[in-house]
Symmetry: C2
Subunit: 372 residues, 2 copies
């Protein structure tokens, strides 16, 4: 049995339930390997989110619309119930079809006893089809069990890290004054998609100039990059269901002294992180050390110091002041200190790392350079 | 009051309810102008879908996560309740915050009486916060009232049609043997995004070669386009909350006789549609005429003949054999007959049209050419 399915079963046992009812995109993806397409928004041909049902023995099934049949076929489950979302020669009530399919899957699998869901994710429309006990929530044990990655996940995340490294290399090649943020971003995304061999959902930030980059977050716009602009590429693509993430910031042409101060403090903080990360350290200790590092250079940053990643782009633990979780081997973390000055701009420097037995390793490093 | 809000109020009155509870991306967008970002999948910083509450007088409010503040700020509502989804210096339970924000908005607006939702969309987690009467479903009246477009919507849809025309022109410029589907698609998407000035969610199809194009649907992959390949670009971007759609198919280099047969039948069916569409005709009559046209050329197509469009990429009415709805002025329809032969490939030809008082007009025509 795939270890991710095993861990889902373990979560189920911890909450004392007989069946898991998964309805979140990342929860279904984690347990079953069914990676729903997301980049065009909610499907007009589905009656609700794809549902995975799993029992204490790891018996697993999926109910999804016919438009997601390819994802279901690639999943690790034994039972798949497809319903008609897309049809053209007769009318379909998607929601009735969805309810019927989930009910039929539940009967085929023999679902009964106590049902546990992910809080906030079970659709109301399934209330009578899958009477989930709202006192039994799989989210807390699942977030903990998902924090360290299995061998299969590490392989998937290495591939996502390779994709972001390819994207970051293309960023440096494509960046030049006179091009728009959107044009540079398009080249980056294309390089990542060529690597993946298919369309890739992508989040993160792509921002240039003092005002936009010092505001630290935003998607690319029509803005034309000017000589000396800071340009920040925070690239987070999902490759085969697993997200990667990364951030590099560079100056479009020769870097100013002000930019160099930001760059050296931010990049220095990332280098410092690589030296100090080890199992046994808490998330809040790492966060505090990175804030102290940039603080010694006269800067602060109005965001987290990082986060874990997997079938969701942000997972537990986060590197934040309040997080007491202890870092463990085979956690995969994004570490992303930054430095911001409204007059000059922002610089953020981020790698995807794996916590090892004694420290950490960068998953597919790429260059952070002050000017391109 | 914006006519879309007026029509939402009308739906509310028709079902006999006092408050509308909207939770679908397209329903919220239609009524309020709040266009949630969708192209990176579900936000890890939200506790549930953005909620719009509207009463019989058109009083309207929105509850959404702080990460959607920009969309809320651009909306037409008077009351906005933002909750913390993203925070870094203290822990947040997104779902509790979501529930609290929706409850707070409901109190501020004085929500009471009978609540109507869109069937299948109200989150279970709000069951006690917004006790929607499941017997009161806004979906049937809303789909009917949304079928004809308001002046503001026609302006928005003309802009989306212009975006697809720009995309289709770029398709012909970018297409050449030796390039991958993904590379050509990246250029097209960039042209559309440069027009919009921002990232654009896009769905549709991009498929080349006999096997892929005759299978009629699929997103672009790494496949390298070969001389003489049929290449189909079905481009559906969402610009400022309103979807556009379009399809052109061309041969990469000189077209074969077989391809020309497909092309002429498909393009001919589209031209025929433009001649016969008029108010008073039913959707199923139009569908039947287009199927008959390609049938006379020896072809069939395994999909609908078209559909309406708006804040959802597929809206009522669909051009399908079972749809008895009557076409009316100011409906905006996609008309997309196609011809498929597994040995040669597929050709689909699609325009976005507005039904006029006496016929139809193409919204931003573009060239359908047999070879590029």
């Amino acid at each position: 049995m795939d270890q991710r399915l095993e861990r889902t079963v373990q979560a189920l046992r911890e909450v004392g339930a007989d069946w898991a009812v998964l309805a979140s995109v990342d929860g279904v993806a984690y347990a079953t390997g069914h990676f729903a397409p997301v980049e065009a928004g909610p499907s007009p041909f589905a009656g609700g989110p794809t549902i995975a049902l799993i029992d204490r023995n790891g018996t697993a099934g999926i109910a999804c619309a016919n438009v997601e049949a390819a994802a279901a076929g690639a999943s690790r489950v034994t039972e798949v119930e497809l319903y008609e979302g897309y049809a053209f020669d007769h009318g379909v009530d998607y929601i009735d079809s969805y309810r019927t399919a989930v009910g039929s899957l539940a009967r085929r699998l023999g679902v009964g006893g106590r049902l546990a869901g992910e809080r906030g994710h079970v659709p109301q429309i399934l209330g009578d089809v899958l009477p989930v006990d709202t006192a039994l929530d799989l989210t807390p044990p699942l977030r903990r069990l998902r924090a360290t990655k299995t061998a299969e996940e590490l392989a998937a995340l290495r591939r996502s890290a390779e994709a972001v490294a390819i994207g970051q290399r293309r960023f440096l090649e494509a960046l030049r004054p006179g091009r728009s943020e959107l044009a540079v971003f398009a080249e980056i995304r294309c390089a990542i998609e060529e690597f993946a061999g298919c369309r890739v959902p992508i989040t993160g930030d792509f921002i240039s100039g003092a005002a936009r980059s010092s505001a630290f977050t935003g998607w690319p716009i029509h803005r034309v990059i000017e000589p000396g602009d800071p340009v920040m590429a925070d690239l987070a693509p999902r490759i085969d269901g697993y997200w990667g993430d990364s951030c590099a910031t560079t100056s479009a042409g020769p870097a100013s002294k002000g930019f160099m101060k930001l760059f050296e403090a931010s990049k220095g903080a990332l280098t410092h992180a690589l030296e100090i990360i080890r199992p046994g350290m808490t998330a809040q200790e790492l966060d505090a050390q990175l804030r102290a590092y940039v603080g010694r250079h006269g800067f602060t940053y109005p965001h987290h110091s990082g986060h874990s990643i997997g079938t969701a782009v942000h997972e537990f633990p986060r590197l934040v002041p309040y997080e007491t979780a202890v870092l463990e081997p085979d956690m995969v973390l994004l570490v992303e200190p930054g430095c911001y000055d409204p007059e000059i701009g922002g610089v953020r420097s981020e790698y995807m790392i794996r916590v090892t037995d004694s420290g950490c390793e960068i998953l597919h490093p790429f260059d952070h350079v002050p000017s391109a």
